[in-house]
């Protein structure tokens, strides 16, 4: 590449301390802070704050020193290198980051790692491995309940925990009689799995996979 084409860049290799104030610059004609937050509160910090954290992931004790801003999702993916849990939207709008936290399914993108001191997390890697698949993983393979594979770990974690929710008697939006025990019907599974988007559209097959596992459990 000719030197003249080389983008000139601003380079900084050393970490800086607290930075200058983020007060927005003058506005007209159009000046936009890329993130014009509500006026930065007094006492706003610029330097990261770290915290130590101990939790159990897939049965293994883990100790981490993390930026307080680190989500459980990024702790898993970037720090523990458990990349089976996916980042699809980072805003709780897709379900790809679903993990099982103390037995319940949650979106790991919408919770801070530091809030989970002492908690137990099960990720897709904790359910089964390629040579020893969890029954739900095997059912997804058998029924082709996935295509690109990116939402798949979230679908599987969600479905495993979802069946437990039905067993625990938790109703859903489509439960006709709130005072009766919920049944494991196709309609119930579809509603309860609706927090996991599959853009490839494997839903019909995912339902078959979950139904097979549910029937085996029954």
């Amino acid at each position: 590449m000719p030197a003249s084409d080389t983008p000139s860049v601003t380079r900084r290799s050393a970490m800086a301390g607290a930075a200058a104030s983020a007060a927005a610059a003058s506005l007209p004609p159009v000046a936009l802070a890329q993130a014009p937050s509500a006026a930065a509160p007094a006492g706003a910090l610029e330097a990261p704050v770290t915290a130590t954290l101990s939790l159990t992931v897939n049965g293994e004790a883990q100790s981490l020193e993390l930026d307080t801003r680190t989500t459980l999702l990024d702790a898993l993916r970037e720090h523990l290198h458990l990349t089976g849990t996916k980042k699809g939207c980072d805003h709780g709008q897709c379900g790809a980051c679903t993990v099982i936290l103390d037995g319940k399914r949650v979106y790991s993108c919408l919770t801070l790692a530091v809030m989970h001191e002492g908690d137990a997390v099960t990720t897709i890697e904790g359910l089964g491995r390629p040579d020893s698949l969890h029954p739900m993983q095997a059912a997804f393979v058998k029924h082709d309940g996935y295509q690109c594979g990116y939402c798949t770990p979230g679908q599987i974690c969600a479905s495993v925990a979802m069946l437990e929710e039905i067993k625990a008697g938790i109703p859903s939006h489509v439960t006709a009689d709130l005072t009766a025990a919920a049944q494991t019907t196709a309609e119930e599974i579809r509603e309860r799995m609706s927090g996991n988007i599959c853009r490839c559209g494997a839903y019909s097959n995912i339902l078959d996979a979950i139904t097979e596992v549910a029937e085996r459990q029954a």
Binding site: L32, A33, Q34, A35, P36, S37, A38, A39, A40, P41, A42, G43, A44, L45, E46, A47, P48, V49, A51, D67, T68, R69, T71, D90, H91, G92, G95, T98, K104, R105, V106, Y107, C109, L110, T111, L112, V114, M115, A158, A161, M162, E165, A168, G169, I170, P171, S172, H173, T175, L178, T179, E191, R192, S194, G195, N196, I197
Partner: protein, 316 residues
């Protein structure tokens, strides 16, 4: 997301006091809305007070025959509570119509009450928004308004409140209990808890700085048949275009609250006398003074038709 310090609170009063001490502090419980907004720097707390350890996670009977719901009771657990399912079905239904299993497992009662709007311009930090940045203007007015408010809006803001739970609680006359930084407590009727935008859309609730929600109290069961009908484009995992929470008695009287139409759960007690005459007069009274945009005027007809459908089901 800006850096923040973090602490775990050990008691409600201590949490409130800590919040008052630390400028820019916020409580965090489920975090499902707060973290979403922090990532976009729509919320920029300098300090987070984790209140999950406070023992506010129980649903208990009140001496008056109602229920006291701890602020930290998760949406899943509240929806599944047998007493709620039996006596406050509209609340269970509303919770189950909202969000997803994963979100309901995390989201708390108090946090749900404090959900902020889903107006897309509020979420886009390159656009002016009086709610996000007071005085910057409103990009939504004159823009994409289909999901936005049809009543109670202002020149400054036409955002809607996204909660389903709060709509049911409004129909049930719930009361929000809080503790303030000085340790005093108070009870705020839900009708007064959420505010209309007026000229200060960034102020959304009656809470004072540092004030912490400790519980929501439900009065004794209202009886009747209870409904929560949520209307949306996709079948699940979507915010309401319009929702109707209704408690309908055998004699045709009842209560109605609407979601998806205003900056707060919308209920007009004075209009409920019209319910016995049918959905059309009732909704005309409930939405009297509505100022929809051409794009969201359908919500008026939709609210009326949805109520009509609910009343038909109540009769059937």
């Amino acid at each position: 997301m800006k850096p923040f310090t973090y602490e775990r609170a050990r008691s409600p009063a201590e949490a409130a006091a800590a919040a008052a001490r630390r400028p820019g502090a916020k409580f965090i419980a489920g975090g499902t809305n707060l973290l979403d907004l922090m990532k976009l720097q729509i919320e920029v707390p300098a300090h987070l007070i984790d209140v999950n350890g406070l023992a506010l996670d129980k649903v208990e009977p009140t001496p008056e025959g109602g229920l006291r719901i701890g602020a930290l009771v998760r949406n899943t657990d509240l929806a599944a509570d047998e007493r709620v399912r039996r006596d406050y079905a509209v609340l269970s239904r509303a919770l189950l119509a909202g969000a997803t299993g994963q979100l309901r497992n995390k989201a708390t009662t108090a946090g749900n009450l404090l959900q902020r709007t889903r107006c897309p311009y509020f979420y886009d930090t390159a656009q002016p928004c009086n709610k996000r940045q007071p005085g910057s203007g409103c990009a939504a007015i004159g823009g994409f308004t289909r999901p936005l408010a049809v009543i109670g809006g202002s020149e400054a803001c036409i955002a809607t409140n996204p909660s389903d739970m709060a709509v049911a609680m409004r129909a049930l006359d719930a009361v929000v209990e809080t503790v303030r930084p000085d340790g005093t407590t108070r009870s705020i009727p839900i009708a007064e808890f959420h505010r209309l935008p007026g000229g200060t859309p960034h102020i959304e609730t009656a809470l004072e700085a540092g004030e912490l929600i400790t519980a929501v109290t439900l009065p004794p069961p209202a009886g009747g048949r209870q409904f929560y009908r949520k209307v949306r484009d996709r079948a699940s995992y979507a915010f309401a275009l319009v929702s109707v929470a209704a408690v309908v008695q055998r004699d045709g009287t009842g209560r109605v609250a609407l979601g998806g139409v205003a900056h707060k759960p919308w209920r007009v007690e004075g209009a409920e006398a019209e319910l016995r005459r049918g959905a059309k007069p009732a909704m005309a009274a409930i939405l009297d003074g509505a100022r929809p945009t051409p794009e969201n005027a359908f919500k008026l007809a939709l609210a009326e038709r949805t109520l009509a459908s609910v009343l038909a089901e109540a009769r059937g």
